[in-house]
């Protein structure tokens, strides 16, 4: 048995047997791991409120030989999403991060850049200020996983968009120019293309000073969500909330 102590982010929990929880955890050292938190619903001593999704924790867990699930021993919360007020949009935002990370990351594949990205967006995701971190996270996770197409030129002809809108389609990769767009494509505006370039260049802290509304970067978010959904072949439940809220 190998004991581990690592910084981690709780992604999701599922009830298991009478009082156990199955926990999906994004650890800094080992990547995504799944394990069982025994009696987590009965006793709050070992986990407290640290099993809430997107809680940044110091996690102690044990890997057992020839067993896929680890044994979760003890979590100590470093930063909890419950420390700040929560509304429906913030809950959807936290759920979106958890759902995307759960769907796109393979098990036992540590990726420090994704871990740092998640911590950075979590810090910025506050009531009334969620649209920017959601967009930033969507863009960067798509890039870090390797699914982000070129955002400055047409995939078909390679021509630079040069101040004109790009087009995307739910069933095809990449962005197209007006000449090569597929029927029923959606437009990605000039402002959003520029925003994507800026987000790939600047830190999230620099972006956080700018005023954002639900309309800001809406087409960019939709493009990125579609890209993630197409590659994982799964609908993102939490992204539906963004659409329902007009974002």
């Amino acid at each position: 048995m190998t004991l581990h102590q690592s910084e981690a982010i709780v992604l999701r929990t599922w009830p298991l047997r009478e009082s156990d929880l199955l926990v999906s955890l994004l650890t800094r050292d080992l990547g995504k791991v799944r394990g069982v938190a025994k009696a987590a619903l009965k006793s709050r001593k070992r986990f407290g409120g640290a099993l809430e999704p997107m809680t940044y924790v110091d996690a102690a867990y044990a890997e057992r030989p020839r067993q896929e699930l680890v044994r979760m021993d003890h979590f100590e919360a470093i930063a909890s999403p419950l420390a700040l007020p929560i509304d429906y949009l913030r809950a959807a935002t936290l759920g979106y991060y958890a759902e995307v990370l759960e769907n796109v990351l393979p098990d036992h594949d540590p990726q420090d850049a994704i871990f740092r990205l998640t911590l950075a967006v979590l810090e910025q995701s506050q009531v009334g200020r969620c649209w920017m971190p959601v967009t930033y996270f969507s863009l960067w996770i798509t890039r870090l996983i390797g699914w982000l197409p070129e955002t400055d030129r047409c995939t078909e002809c390679g021509q630079n968009f040069a101040g004109e809108a790009a087009y995307f389609h739910g069933l095809t990769d990449g962005l197209s120019c007006a000449r090569h767009k597929k029927p029923n494509s959606s437009a990605l505006g000039v402002d959003s293309l520029a925003l994507a370039q800026r987000m790939l260049r600047d830190s999230i802290c620099a972006m956080s000073e700018e005023p954002w509304t639900r309309q800001s970067g809406r087409d960019l978010r939709r493009f990125l969500v579609r890209t993630l959904e197409r590659h994982t072949e799964r609908r993102l439940n939490s992204a539906e909330v963004f659409s329902r809220m007009g974002g």
Partner: protein, 199 residues
């Protein structure tokens, strides 16, 4: 080929579908029922049948009940001007055990859960708004769990009911009775300090 007679195997199969009951426990329970008197075994079967046949949701508060309206909504000695909003019917039992609440209830049957695709339309929120708009309420107590989803649901209800003349309150959170402050996490301790009251 099955190790037991068909009816016994079927009972083991059905019992092992229950939460917290594995195959071994189901086998033990099945043999216990087999050894029990005919009267006891049939009483158990009748209780399960009646549970599904007679229980339904209260048309006012959506609690599980065998009479409509339920015992809380139809009781004239309870204060119907105060309603406590809970996530699940089982939460009512916890509040009733305290003997400190004499109002009525409203059961949402879940919380907003973006991860699981549960939005406001899947919860009993419309009927809560109707009860508030009917005008006879003085206070709505939001008693959803202090989890991300419970807090989001409470926040959503607060937004929805804010314009009404009804007083909206949230249950307190903090250190549980009998617990040691040394082992309290930061969020719990912060909330306990924020929610302190004058003695």
């Amino acid at each position: 080929m099955s190790r037991f007679a068909q009816p016994l195997t079927q009972l083991i199969d059905e019992l092992s579908k229950l939460p917290g009951i594995g195959r071994k426990s189901a086998q033990r329970l099945a043999f216990h029922i087999l050894r029990a008197t005919e009267q006891d075994a049939f009483a158990l079967a009748d209780a399960i049948r009646d549970l599904k046949a007679q229980l339904h949701l209260c048309s006012i508060c959506h609690n599980i009940t065998d009479v409509d309206p339920c015992q809380f909504c139809s009781n004239p000695s309870r204060n119907q001007a105060i309603i406590c909003v809970v996530e699940e019917p089982s939460n009512i039992a916890s509040i009733e055990r305290t003997k400190h609440f004499n109002g009525a209830y409203h059961v949402l049957h879940g919380t907003l859960s973006p991860l699981n695709g549960i939005g406001p339309d899947q919860l009993r929120i419309d009927s809560l708004v109707e009860r508030v708009q009917a005008g006879s309420l003085q206070e709505v107590i939001l008693a959803t769990n202090p989890t991300v989803e419970g807090e989001a649901t409470a926040g959503y209800l607060l937004q929805l009911l804010r314009g009404t003349p009804v007083r909206i309150t949230r249950i307190a959170t903090g250190i549980p009775a009998g617990a040691d402050i040394e082992y309290a996490d930061e969020v719990t301790m912060t909330r306990a300090m924020e929610g302190r009251r004058e003695l």
